[in-house]
Symmetry: C2
Subunit: 160 residues, 2 copies
């Protein structure tokens, strides 16, 4: 089948399929006389595998590692387990930080009465006071110290 059919079968964009091939996750398919990619059922299964792992929020690098392990039956199951464990740890860490963040935002949200102008806005007061070194309601001292090491919005794939 052609790339559009593969994409439709797996619910994946054509560009994403080409991206995975470029990344080495999907093997290069054969080509027709017109240069079009011709995919087999095995490609669909590989793509489904990848998408399944992506649904588990695994990085493409980790998925590549899993695929390597699949290709080597003598490798230990524990290596697979390690990848899943790593992912679980990351998920839990992110859950913790998001729970804290939710609490912080709720505190902050409670400061706004909706009827005032920003000159009297409790939220902005809090944010501005915090930027001037005063304690703020949305961060405890410990959490405030931690927030100095912002990791950005990417969560799982923090570079450091």
């Amino acid at each position: 089948m052609r790339i559009g059919e593969l994409g439709a079968a797996a619910g994946v964009e054509v560009e994403t399929i080409r991206y995975y091939e470029k990344r080495g996750l999907l093997p290069e398919p054969g080509r027709g006389a017109n240069g079009y990619r011709m995919y087999a059922q095995t490609h669909l299964e590989r793509l489904a595998f990848i998408r399944h792992c992506r649904a588990l929020d695994m990085s493409l690098d980790d998925i590549g590692r899993l695929l390597e392990l699949t290709a080597h039956p003598e490798a230990e199951c524990r290596d697979v387990g390690r990848l899943i464990d790593g992912q679980l740890i990351r998920v839990r860490e992110r859950l913790n930080s998001l729970h804290a963040l939710e609490r912080q935002l709720q505190f902050l949200r409670a400061r706004c009465s909706s009827r005032e102008q920003t000159g009297n806005c409790g939220i902005l007061h809090e944010l501005i006071a915090a930027s001037q070194g005063e304690p703020c309601v949305c961060h405890s001292t410990e959490e405030k110290a931690k927030s100095r090491r912002i990791c950005g919005s990417t969560g799982f794939y923090c570079k450091r």
Copy 2:
């Protein structure tokens, strides 16, 4: 103070500071005769404000909107509240999806006994079976349908 001092005072990389300036979040500072940026206390406060909002996982665009509101005391407090509300919604949505993901990974993790080789690995069996169209333990039918619309790892800043 120079950019390195500002960065040290706020716990921010020099490149990030320049990035914020390029993004228009930080006002351009004056320059010395040598072309070096010379920052005032107000810059430090603005930077702290930005970092505080980043700690609340707000996007730079939203932070820019907040700064605009700060600059216009006649604007309504409810506009600020709206930004925080939007952020709260995003945090909660992300929490929900991560909880589901944690459950899925736990199910999957339970399949690995650690002593086997990947040829008999329960995790891989699950992932491979799922890629071949069989039901899997880590996704209920409903969740599996949803996972076809993978949003990627960026969570908050999903384009669609």
